[in-house]
Amino acid sequence: MFDGQAALRALIDHPLFCFALTLAAYQLALALYERTRWVVMQPVLLAMLMVIPVLLLCDIDFARYRDGTQLLSLFLGPATVALAVPLYLNLRRIRQLFWPVVLTLAIGGLFATLAGVGLAWWFGADEMVLMTLLPKSVTSPIAMLVAEQIGGVAALAAVFVLITGVLGAIFGPPLLSWIGVRHPAARGMALGITAHAVGTAQALQESEETGAFSALAMSVLGAATAILLPLAVLFLR
């Protein structure tokens, strides 16, 4: 009488299944993160770890999942455009510490980018991985867009960004105190340049000034990476 198999198929084959799965996994991940407040429990990472097994179990490949979640991916573009707003709002804060901010961003940003790729090259990673590692120091939407432009893998870039961010947020503050970096602006810049969004969230818990400089470093470095990195790769090839 009741055909459980058919009902299950109707659920899995429904165009909204992947969308619902993503929404549910994200909210569960967010609830877990808020309950534990543990930096390792990054919602994106947790949600990803919940979605992938379900897809494998239901025999859904990534192409179908991508089609099913297009509703979400479409908004990634406007969300990137929206980053201009916090960037503009932070502009006033740069004025007081103009040269320290600009120099640290230029030298530190270049150092962070080159150190990652240089080490990976030295350890023997192939070109696809190298091109994906280049934008690892910036916030994920930009890193993903840039990785795709220069011949890396967007999804992989998101994972690298995430790993970098989580490690930076966990080990950054104690290490900075250990070498004697105490100025809130300096702590914020270091976290924003290397650990982007996750680092900024951590910086905000230290103080508002630390958070503001972290957000500033993150957005300026993100914009600069988006513009300069594809150009640099283009000229070096």
């Binding site: 991985v129 893998v153 998101a158």
Partner: protein, 120 residues
């Protein structure tokens, strides 16, 4: 309110995509859209209420928007495993080096700026 701000964001994204196709194919449309909006805000000297509402709501859900691309990692699991040590080593060592370097550099520069102010 939200809808008006969202329209502005989408318009800037579309403008950026057109500009990318016309002049700068190496830059993604969304990035150009962000730069255009930034220049627009500098000229206007304020963030309007609708735009601020839309930008805040979108950015609040940014992690959710990033879940589908992150799931794409399942396609590249084999490639990651092959280079796993290189990746982890590069990520951890470069993170620690650059984090400490940036913090130290910024603190030195701030101290120097304050010193100069003091001397004047």
């Amino acid at each position: 309110m939200l809808l008006r701000g969202l329209t502005t964001l989408v318009l800037f994204q579309l403008l950026g995509s057109m500009l990318s196709a016309l002049l700068l194919p190496m830059l993604p449309g969304a990035i150009l859209g962000m730069l255009l909006l930034f220049v627009f805000l500098m000229l206007r000297r304020e963030v309007g209420e609708p735009l601020s509402v839309a930008a805040n709501s979108l950015l609040r859900y940014l992690p959710l928007l990033l879940v589908p691309p992150a799931v794409g990692v399942m396609v590249y699991a084999a490639a990651i495993w092959a280079d796993a040590w290189a990746i982890v080593g590069a990520l951890v060592v470069s993170l620690l080096l650059s984090l400490l370097f940036c913090g130290w550099l910024m603190q030195r520069l701030i101290e120097r700026q304050q010193q100069e102010k003091h001397d004047v």
